[in-house]
């Protein structure tokens, strides 16, 4: 299991012809963001979810450096040098320098021990389904096969908003599936401009708009294809209008996505939920030390630059974007306590998740899992995988019991407000 890692330098722009005209300028009808008010549930808060797909090793991310069991279990993989201690028990991985600064400023909550106990809890795909759907039974158990962030979108979207949730990728993450169909996806290289020759432009888009209209005879596949086309036309208009970021970000894929996230959030208050997958190889069955350094350096640089930028983005009410935005960092599962012979770790259960933002009351949450392997070589979870999504849903102003239908518990004191 590993995540995609694209060749650098190939972007969609490289084949966009010059001379395109703004879609917004020419498109007839169907604006993405009408001026109507958001639904009553709106709290004007924004949630950016970063998934570390593959199962990041929580134990080498938030390191229990005062516990000998940690060093005993990992003679080669235990991290001894460069630890970024946050207290006399725990340290961040040496590459998490921005996270350490944010932690010291009281803006990072580390949630210890989230996971599930289930016979299939070591399968990526069982756990993806659980983590993304917000239900242990996966997407077959949620209304409309929605995910929990998608249900937050459903509950916050105004009836006139055409898009209220975005996955920063070429396709919608299953977690962002909504019933309202207000979820879309966009690449960081999308600028919404189609390279149609000028003489055809207006007719071309009108024809696309026409082709996206539903017909009573449409099969479910054809309907989905038409909805995709409709979403594209709406999204194009929005993308031509967003304010590009001119802040400094590292030259990495995750940083490009976080810069894109900042641009989107700065351009509209109608898209309260964003989802992105961090670039990296988080399923570290082998050569973990090297992979984790690269993974966490990229993640940390992107998060640091994102918070530096959104501090400076002032909104109409005088507050900054940083006052209203929370970033959650989650993964489907953790890894084994002991290292294997390939210099890696296998699938485990308990992990650590992070929540970052000005509204967060920094510190450590959840009981730390005991450093004792269960029969699967894993740490035993101390809180449900769904407690953090439940708590985030409540903070966003949605009804947490509706967002997490199987039930969850509020993590007390995680937020200041």
């Amino acid at each position: 299991m590993r995540d995609q890692c694209y060749p650098k330098g190939i972007t969609r722009r490289s084949f966009i012809k010059v001379g395109g005209i703004s879609v917004a300028a020419l498109m007839a009808g169907g604006p993405l963001l009408r001026s109507g008010a958001r639904a009553a549930a709106s709290t004007d808060r924004r949630l950016v979810i970063i998934e570390l797909a593959g199962g990041n090793d929580g134990l080498n991310t938030l390191i229990p450096y005062s516990n000998n069991r940690y060093f005993d279990a990992r003679p080669n993989l235990a991290i001894r040098d460069g630890l970024l201690a946050i207290n006399n028990e725990y340290a961040f991985h040496p590459k998490l320098t921005s996270m350490k600064q944010l932690y010291d400023a009281g803006r990072v909550a580390a949630v210890r021990g989230p996971g599930l106990v289930h016979p299939e809890a070591l399968s990526h795909f069982f756990m993806f389904a659980a983590l993304r759907s917000g239900h242990i039974g996966g997407f077959t158990q949620t209304p409309g096969q929605t995910g929990w962030p998608g249900r937050i979108v459903d509950s916050l979207a105004g009836s006139d908003d055409l898009i209220a949730g975005l996955t920063l990728s070429s396709s919608v993450n299953p977690a962002m599936t909504t019933i309202s169909e207000k979820s879309a996806s966009a690449n960081s290289t999308d600028d919404g401009v189609l390279p149609v020759p000028e003489a055809f432009y207006e007719r071309f888009l009108a024809a696309q708009r026409g082709m996206s209209m539903l017909d009573p005879t449409d099969s479910s596949s054809r309907r989905a294809a038409k909805k995709g086309m409709e979403g594209f036309l709406s999204l194009s208009e929005f993308l031509t209008s967003i304010r590009p970021s001119n802040a400094q970000y590292p030259e990495t894929e995750t940083a490009r996505l976080m810069a894109f996230a900042a641009s989107i959030l700065a351009s509209t208050d109608k898209i309260p939920v964003l989802w992105l997958n961090a670039n990296g190889i988080f399923d570290t069955h082998g050569s973990q030390a090297v992979y984790m350094q690269l993974n966490l350096e990229e993640l940390d640089g992107a998060i640091g630059a994102f918070f530096r930028e959104i501090e400076t983005i002032r909104l109409a009410d005088g507050l900054t974007l940083a006052d209203k935005t929370v970033v959650a960092v989650i993964a489907e599962f953790g890894r084994t306590l002991a290292e294997n012979a390939s210099g890696g770790t296998d699938h485990g259960k308990a992990n650590v998740h992070f929540v970052i933002g000005k509204s967060v009351r920094g510190g450590l949450y959840g009981e730390p899992p005991a450093l004792v392997a269960d029969e699967d070589g894993s740490l035993v979870p101390t809180i449900s995988l769904f407690d953090l999504p439940y708590t985030l849903a409540a903070w966003m102003g949605a009804d947490p019991d509706a967002i997490i239908p199987g039930g969850g518990r509020l993590i007390d004191g995680l937020f200041n407000n």
Partner: protein, 439 residues
């Protein structure tokens, strides 16, 4: 003369069984009839032989994608210029979607794996699973190399059962993952200066081989899926293939890939029986699937979502143009679909994912090549036709479109008096149409 419905039905078969439905082929096959077409396309098919590959640099460098990009280009050019071997190549890419690997392995080894999958594409699943287990790229991708019996790596054997053969709920437990990992330990790669010690140093893929060291493996009996013995690759695969879940799992995957995402249990079971009874020969299973009433049912037409790779090949066939002119890599990047680089070990998901808003955008960009096409021969056929819309739909193999799509093409045709520009615009719109994303 075949009726319109017979043409639509044959287009349905050709879109699933081949990569490039060229103009005229639908008519030609429809005149032969359904059963004759199945005999020609499926029963008489052979596994493709791929003996060459691009020239690789084989420099060891984490950030060097040149070899990978060369492999993608090589393969797309190969697929765009196939003569025959249609279903074998479709199956080759089906197996890529089941027995996944990615660029964690060097491109030269992915190319060798590609040749291996081609060789077995229509062969026997047992032989395929045994060979892929010690394939060089697979040993790298799922960490089989250097796995010691004393503390074995669980990655390969878990995915072997969960994703390659039995499926979740297929009757194995974490204990089987642990014993299977022991059973498959002891393998590593040797030779060819791989991996080189220094970044940028050359390695020699043709000299790399997989080797087994008994002392690094596990010589004690273990219980794997209920069978207690000293296990090895052959016995692990044979034991897996004894599980009733296996034939059902592959039959379901195949149906979901080629027909539509929700087969009935009865359909899956009937296909699984064929697969099991032929001792996992792949061609009888494929023949049974294409002859299944569910495949020929009118609801099956247009019910499948094309992978971006298929959309690209279909556009190249419709435009009768070199695939390079589309800039395949940029298209793949914007769709998030890269051949040889699946999003994860479960492969590229089938279905609605490839209909998302950004996919329409990527397809729209692809269609723009219509405005750069030379006058002959494609545009000429359209602008000399009495029915330019009908000719455009025929060229793009869209025999059944919604009233909205037809109306918009007609409207565009009426609005453009320049016959050449009319042809260009019609072709572009047909490729961006919702129907073109389906097969």
């Amino acid at each position: 003369m075949a009726s319109l419905d017979e043409l639509a039905e044959m287009a349905h078969l050709l879109k699933r069984a081949t990569f490039n439905v060229t103009v005229g082929r639908v008519e030609e096959m429809a005149s032969k009839g359904w059963e004759a077409a199945l005999t020609e396309l499926v029963d008489n098919a052979r596994s493709p032989e791929i003996s060459s590959g691009p020239k690789f640099r084989n420099r060891y460098s984490e950030s060097d994608y040149d070899d990978f990009l060369a492999l993608v280009k090589f393969e797309m050019n190969r697929l765009a210029n196939l003569s025959g071997e249609d279903i074998g190549n479709r199956m080759l890419w089906f197996w890529h979607n089941v027995l996944t690997s990615d660029t964690k392995a060097p491109a030269a080894l992915l190319c060798r794996q590609h040749q291996l999958l081609a060789k077995h594409a229509l062969g026997n699943f047992r032989a395929l699973l045994k060979e892929i287990t010690t394939d060089l790229a697979m040993l790298i991708y799922l960490d089989g190399w250097g796995s010691y019996g004393a503390s074995p790596n669980q990655n390969y054997v878990r995915e072997l059962m969960e994703l390659f053969s039995l499926g979740r709920g297929g009757g194995y437990t974490q204990r089987d993952v642990e014993s299977g990992a022991r059973a498959l330990s002891g393998w590593t790669l040797e030779g060819g200066n791989f991996p080189p010690e220094r970044e940028g140093e050359e390695f020699f893929p043709e000299r790399i081989r997989s080797v087994f060291y008994q002392e690094a493996g596990w010589s004690e009996p273990v219980t794997f899926l209920g069978v207690t013995r000293v296990h090895n690759v052959d016995s692990v695969i044979d034991t897996i293939l004894e599980q009733p879940a296996c034939a059902r799992f592959i039959a379901r995957k195949l149906f979901q890939y080629f027909v539509h995402p929700s087969p009935s249990d009865a359909t899956v079971n009937s296909l699984a029986t064929v697969f099991r009874n032929s001792d996992y020969e792949i061609k009888p299973l494929l023949a049974a699937m294409f002859r299944h009433p569910d495949f020929r049912a009118p609801q099956a037409r247009g019910a499948r979502v094309r992978f971006p790779m298929e959309t690209l090949l279909a556009a190249a066939a419709a435009f009768s143009t070199e695939i390079e002119r589309f800039d395949p890599l940029s298209y793949f990047y914007s769709t998030g679909f890269l051949p040889f680089e699946p999003p994860n070990v479960a492969g590229w998901p089938v279905g609605a994912r490839w209909l998302a808003a950004s996919q329409t955008g990527a397809r729209s960009h692809l269609s723009m090549l219509a405005f750069d096409l030379p006058k002959k021969p494609v545009l000429k056929k359209i602008f000399n036709s009495d029915d330019p819309v009908g000719e455009t739909l025929r060229r793009t193999s869209l025999y059944e479109v919604s009233p909205q799509t037809r109306a918009e093409l007609e409207r565009f045709a009426r609005s453009e008096s320049d016959r050449k520009d009319r042809a260009r615009g019609l072709l572009a719109l047909a490729v961006t149409s919702p129907e073109f994303a389906l097969s």
